[in-house]
């Protein structure tokens, strides 16, 4: 077979599309043993991405099972059931508090997570917080546009959860002895059904605060818009005890 002059001159390189071979300008490096070495940052990014994928898949499963047609009614039963499903997935993931915060942002900013439904999202994040290795969890959510509901659901004793930013409805409901600090505002039904523990809201709080709470404390740095039907426990507004007190008309406090 005849070899073209160009091909003769070139020691390596594959002819492309039947044309002459191209000189390999990196030929001397063919002897260099190429090993894909990960720099530490790569490893961190990769492991973070892997964990995020797992967390994301758990959330998607929760939506599949509990929010069919993308509708989710906040009822006591639905919350309990969603939480059980979330617990099931969360227990299998090895994650850190930082991953929870990343997930909160991914919920809003990534195309990989299709729907942010504040209810199931809050239940899922609460499950993540309750099963996290760390005792103290700080979530910096002030940049988040959506206020997530149900944060701090069933926060157990020994856990402290601090949220920078505002939270949605049903914050800290069913609290089980943990300490929940909200640096911004909290909406309605905060602390509903909580049994023990402490909720501290630095700014204002909405209606039905402490509805059916059985114990513990809710301290509000700003104004309490309305109290719920409280069974037992204490509510403070700017260090002043407002429940138990004279107020008998829930949600008509002001």
């Amino acid at each position: 077979m005849k070899t073209s002059l160009t091909q003769k001159m070139v020691s390596t390189g594959q002819p492309v599309g039947g044309g002459p071979a191209v000189m390999n300008p990196f030929e001397e490096f063919k002897v260099f043993r190429f090993e894909k070495t990960d720099i530490p940052l790569d490893q961190i990014v990769q492991s973070t991405e892997a964990v995020m994928d797992q967390i994301r898949r758990g959330y998607e499963k929760l939506l599949e099972e509990e929010a069919k047609e993308l509708v989710w009614m906040v009822q006591y039963n639905t919350i309990i059931k969603a939480y059980e499903v979330a617990e099931r997935y969360v227990r299998e993931i090895d994650y850190s508090a930082e991953d929870i915060e990343d997930f909160c942002f991914a919920l809003e900013n990534t195309q990989k997570i299709p729907y942010l439904i504040p209810g199931p999202a809050g239940v899922y994040i609460s499950a993540l917080c309750n099963y996290a290795k760390e005792e103290e969890i700080i979530l910096k959510l002030s940049e988040l546009k959506t206020e997530i509901n149900l944060l701090g659901f069933r926060l157990p004793k020994g856990k402290r959860m601090m949220i920078e930013g505002d939270t949605g409805d049903f914050t800290g409901i069913g609290l089980e002895g943990g300490e929940l600090v909200v640096e911004g505002n909290a909406k309605n039904w905060t602390g509903a059904g909580m049994r023990s523990g402490k909720i501290l809201v630095r700014k204002n709080i909405g209606l039905h605060t402490g509805e059916w709470m059985m114990g513990g404390e809710i301290c509000v740095g700003g104004r309490v818009r309305g109290l719920g039907n409280i069974v037992e426990g204490k509510v403070f507004e700017r260090d002043k005890l407002v429940y138990p007190g004279k107020v008998r008309n829930p949600n008509l406090y002001y």
Binding site: V22, E28, T37
Partner: protein, 444 residues
């Protein structure tokens, strides 16, 4: 590489010049040894068939350093070297530099060329090259580049030659050296002030240059040079006389100059030395930084950097021109010479880093803002060499940080060229973009 005696012989020449002929301080350290850059690079130039530009203040030994080196490496008595030097001045002509018509033959209606000594002998020294007007500098371009000297449709080709040119700093009588001529010089060194005490000694002692003179051999050499025989036939005759002068030098001074076969052998040994992978990757990184422009494809002296360019932190942003293809040739040539002289088996990073500032300094056109920013910096070197040394330091730092990744990227590039289906390794440095461009060019 095992030393076979030539390295020792060359180092003895270095030492002899350093101790007896050209007094100066060492100003460069390579692998723990200190050298004087003017002598070291002149030796490498003479051995390598290179081209060197020697700058410095008047009277600081620019020309004499080159003369001593050439005399001992090429075995020419100083008288012949002096008689073949070309000096730069505004009235210089082609007839004085290259050759003139043979007037006797011309009278008889025949055309023949009488070649100058400068064009005939392998040692070429152009004194004060920047006193040649720009228009006349182009006369010597081809000769400087290829060793081809043409006159009246005749040509002589120097198989073996080296060129030294000296230049003063700018004054009323100097011109700038045109860019294509500057680029043809492989290296630039400064012949520096040796310090008050060594300078005092130079004044105190008698002239040393007479020890490299020999009137009889000088006359013999002139006779051969002036003879009408063909240039090719003159060469063995010249060599014969040069060898006799070499024996005289060995007998009287105790050092052995290099004969033609010695020089050829040394060059063969040098050519067998290749760059190791670090040296190669480092040189590629440097070349990328001195030629890269994301916006316009490459550096061009007529184009300016874009505002807010991503590559603002790299040296491409500080310079105006593009590195020429002669730059890597010079780097390799001198690094190879240095590796040989040190008896090393490969050209490594140290060799490359040592020669780089001297091969870059005259070729880089820095932007005005860079010049004004750095001109007051404390330094020992002339400004262009200082800037080049700073640039080499900067790139060395970058290379240290990412040498493995860069070698990986180059290895991946090689595998892709061999047909493997791999992803190009990314990186921020311009060299990675250049790798990508080569691979894309292959794929299309």
């Amino acid at each position: 590489m095992e030393k076979n005696g030539y390295q020792k012989q060359v180092m003895e020449v270095y030492q002899f010049i350093n101790d007896h002929l050209y007094f100066n301080r060492p100003d460069i350290e390579i692998k723990g040894e200190r050298y004087n850059s003017a002598i070291l690079f002149s030796l490498l130039t003479a051995l390598n068939k290179g081209k060197e530009l020697i700058i410095g203040e008047p009277g600081l030994g620019k020309t004499t350093s080159a003369e001593f080196v050439c005399s001992l490496i090429y075995q020419f008595p100083l008288g012949v070297i002096w008689g073949s030097e070309v000096s730069g001045h505004p009235e210089q002509t082609e007839e004085k530099i290259i050759g003139r018509p043979d007037l006797g033959k011309l009278n008889r209606g025949e055309e023949d060329v009488v070649w100058t000594n400068f064009s005939q002998i392998p040692v070429k020294i152009v004194d004060e090259i920047n006193r040649l007007p720009e228009t006349k500098q182009s006369m010597i371009l081809d000769g400087v580049d290829r060793g081809n000297w043409e006159y009246l449709n005749e040509m002589i080709i120097n198989d073996e030659y080296c060129l030294f040119a000296t230049a003063n700093y700018q004054d009323g009588g100097t011109n700038t050296i045109i860019a294509p001529l500057v680029d043809r010089f492989d290296t630039m060194v400064e012949s520096r002030y040796p310090g008050a005490h060594l300078s005092f000694l130079i004044g105190k002692t008698k002239r040393k240059d007479h020890i490299l003179r020999h009137p009889k051999y000088e006359k013999d050499l002139y006779r051969v040079l002036k003879s009408k025989i063909a240039h090719e036939k003159k060469i063995p005759k010249l060599e014969e006389i040069c060898n006799a002068f070499g024996e005289y030098v060995e007998e009287v001074l105790g050092i052995k100059p290099l004969q033609r076969q010695d020089r050829d052998q040394i060059r063969t040994e040098m050519e067998s030395l290749e760059m190791d992978l670090d040296a190669s990757a480092f040189t590629r990184m440097l070349l990328a930084e001195f030629s890269f422009c994301e916006r316009y494809g490459q550096k061009r002296v007529v184009e300016n950097c874009e505002e807010g360019c991503h590559y603002t932190g790299y040296l491409c942003h500080d310079i105006k021109n593009c590195a020429s293809n002669r730059l890597p040739t010079s780097i390799k040539q001198y690094a190879r010479g240095l590796a040989w002289l040190m008896g090393d088996g490969e050209i490594d990073m140290e060799h490359v880093k040592s020669v780089l500032p001297y091969t870059l300094a005259h070729r880089v056109q820095w932007k005005d803002e860079v010049l004004s920013q750095k001109e007051r910096a404390k330094r020992d070197d002339p400004f262009p060499i200082f800037l080049a040394k700073e640039a080499v330091k900067t790139i060395s730092q970058r290379f240290r940080e990412q040498s493995e990744h860069l070698k990986d990227a180059l290895a991946v590039g090689s595998k892709i060229f061999q047909g493997e289906s791999l992803e190009v390794l990314e990186g921020d440095h311009p060299v990675y973009v250049e790798i990508k461009k080569d691979i894309e060019a292959r794929r299309t």
